[in-house]
Amino acid sequence: MPRLIIDEREIEVPEGTKVIDAAQRLGIVIPRFCYHEALGSVGACRMCAVKFLQGPFKGVQMSCMVDARDGMVVSTTDEEAVQFRQRVIELLMMNHPLDCPVCDEGGQCLLQDETVSGGHARRRFPGPKRTYRDQYLGPYIKHEMNRCIHCYRCSRFYQEFCGYRDLGPLQIGSRMYFGRFSDGPLESPFSGNLVDICPTGVYTDKTARFKLRRWDLQRAPSVCNQCSLGCATVANGHYRGVMRIEARFNRDVNGYFLCDAGRFGFSYANGGQGRRERPLLPRIAGVSASAPSALASAREALENISQKYGPRAIAAAGSNRSSLESQAMLALICKTRDWRGPVFFFDPSERGKTVAAVQELSSDIAVSMREIEKADLVIVAGADPLNEAPMCALAIRQAARKNAPIVTIDSRPLFLPCEFTHFPVAPEKIEHYLAMLVWKAVEKVAENPGKDAEMFCRQLGALSLESAPPEAMAAFSELLLASKRPVIICGTDVTRESTPSFAAGCARLLKCAQKEAGLFFLLPGAGSFGSALLSGTQSQTFGDLVEDIEKGVVRALVVSECDPFHYYPDHARLERAVSKLEQLIAIDYFPSETVERASIFYPASTVFETGSTYINQEGRLRFAQPVHCGGAPISPGEHPPRVYSGLVPGGDHLPAWKALCQIASMPREDGVPAPEKFIPSVLPAFSGLGAGPIYPVDGPRLLSPGPGFTSQWSQRGEEAGEGAPDFELLLVEWMFGTSEFAAWSDSLDAAVCEPHMSINTKDAARAGLSDGDRVSVELDGGAFEIAVSVSERTAEKVLVVPRHQLLDWQKIKGFPVRILAGKIRKI
């Protein structure tokens, strides 16, 4: 551990720490442009010059390029170093346009800050400024090359960190240009980070362009709720609208970055045009009403039903996108008021898998994304990281960059932005392949691993022998045997119900084999972990409620932040069931079909208007602070607003849980119950966290030390054998176009592609289909039309179809879906 002195203060830092980072530990932020912790040092901008007074180096050196060493004495304030840094600013400002007044970066521009703090105010250079032609980079990123200071952050992030290959450094010398081969949208779904990473305004957020000044914004730490990772964000509110999302650093979760779905998928909160207009006013029987009257009539209606039919005639449903507060309140209401539910899941298998994953994940094997980056081998089993949890794909890439082999076992034609080997297998074979891969590494597990481990190991051994491994597998078995920090990433979307437990068993066995093995689950949504915890003991899903409605035992349905019409697999049946209800009470911020049909509707506030908690897929608490009060956004024509009023239309929304609390007449001690009190009452794991207004700080993990090997896996069901229908239809997530957020956010429209159905090459040949054909797929509830994408990388005997907003897949009638070849017709 080298000890050095920086600006007369001593510090000891780990071996390999750069002087620039050592200084930062002392609170001395040395100016920099090219250096970025995630990208490393390249010494291009020369801005971080400091003077080395003693030690192995002397004189002015770049602090990002020098490892801290014993005996170094460094001055950041030495005149020579300061003068040189001022010159660097002068050199960069030779060409930088003074368009700060109209630059979206203004006020949050590193170059601006350094120019001001460096004291550069007068341009000495008598020559002209160079200019460039900008490129069209797609709907999200505005290119403004004249502002470029050539720090190479963009190309290094884009190519090295993310692995995409369509943006880079062009030309030479002072003509250096950063751009694409030709105009066109950036291919990387992580392109939005260019906005954050560029130290000046070359890349700005088009969705926020010319709408705001940084110093006018209401900013708060928030959390992305679009997938189960719960990435840290900063949400920016202005004029009652959400204007922009930025990535917020979180070491364990997303690091410095964010995916484009998370960054640009916020506009639902502002509402859109026509059918996407956010419902801001409460409604009773379709007629606008005041908030107190809507809540009061809901309360009365429910009380009436409870008196007439008993409390069990009221059922409650939440979803995987609800906050933990809402979920817990629903659970508490059902407990105290004896309502039916709450249900959070639509597909029983998804419920089973999510619950199993949550039960299996224990602190001894759970890893964070940061630990995935450090893995020396990554196995992706039944997961599609790029589509289900995009930032996870970036974490995998970081492992691959350090030469970790990446193996994927999945039915989908996966893509990852790094080198990886894909084994396309049907869902029922995923465990078998995983067993073949893992067996060699675990067959001689450490002595005395315990009875359960031995039993699991025996079963695994038997499963690995079910068929001969493919040729390419052997090499990976060897690599896994030699690995020290392997990580298994398992999903819940296309896997069998037993697979999460099986993957956990594999991770535990690898642990028994003296490896620092890790396990990482991908879950269906931001609220999935909470849903699983709260519905752990009851196996009901929404389908059971539909039956209860049909039978007439359920007369009222309360849905909170949930749109059954989006998820329930039989649209027509749901329509009939809903029409039988006496009351459908909906609390939501989306203008969903359920909201349309509700007898009483209460407009809930969004995560940006409410403090919300989520538990991400690794059991980590993620807390989003409220950003602004919300309400009808001021449209551009009214900018700047001329009338300020205390009464903001739609600005008095309650979060769903508070509305629920009122309509269920929940007892309150003083005013509104506090989440830190009522959440522990349904989730005992929370009791240890202590009280406080914002009880979960950013990060603790709520996991038990480890249940050991569970017997869940051996209870797996029988697979359909001979004579099974030809195809299994797998409904899957896409990064853009399948989520409810995408459906209601016009800001994401530009990223949504036409849906297509993936099919294996051999299957396609048998069915007489070729790439690009359009087919009609006949389902039990009707047919949909879709383009076909043929690939050897898709497993045989499956049809992979996205739950796409342009596809009315809600005709499948039930889960799972098996289809005969004859039901697919070329059109």
Partner: protein, 163 residues
């Protein structure tokens, strides 16, 4: 579209390399030999042969001095503008060629035969002033010598060779 024979040849060139990218310059030189410059279409096709994206090839093409991303004449006359040639009168050489071909520096003659460009030191300082035409070097330039070279090139459209 690149001719098929050329593609066959380029694939051979690439196959001989330690890694395909190593041959990026050779591939672009071969294409320029045939087409004079690297059109967008040629860039896309060359990149595909090299297992690169067009952007990755563009990163190289725009870096180097001898790769042309705009159309050039059949003969690219690059007159050395570095120190020794400057000392030995490269200005007069440029002026002479420019007036003889009636083109400015950077221009291409009306018949599409000649493009006039500056180039940094070509390593023939002992024979300054010097110029390089399609990789062939001519030194100790005088108006008479330039006349001879240019008229021979104009006559002999099928030009190739080495010093």
């Amino acid at each position: 579209m690149l001719p098929d024979e050329l593609k066959v040849k380029l694939r051979e060139v690439i196959a001989a390399a330690e890694s395909p990218r190593e041959k990026a310059i050779d591939v672009m030189f071969e294409i320029q030999e045939l087409q004079g410059w690297m059109s967008d279409q040629a860039m896309v096709e060359a990149a595909e042969l090299l297992g690169m994206t067009p952007l990755e090839l563009e990163e190289l093409a725009t870096f180097y001095d001898y790769i042309y991303r705009s159309p050039v004449g059949k003969y690219v006359i690059k007159v050395c503008d570095s120190t020794v040639c400057w000392l030995e009168g490269r200005r007069r050489v440029v002026d002479y060629i420019a007036s003889r071909l009636a083109i400015p520096m950077g221009g291409t003659s009306a018949d599409g035969l000649f493009t006039l460009l500056p180039v940094c030191c070509i390593g023939y300082c002992d024979r300054a002033p010097a110029m390089v035409i399609n990789k062939r070097v001519f030194g100790n330039l005088t108006p008479e010598k330039i006349d001879r070279i240019l008229s021979q090139l104009a006559k002999n459209a099928d030009f190739s060779g080495s010093e």
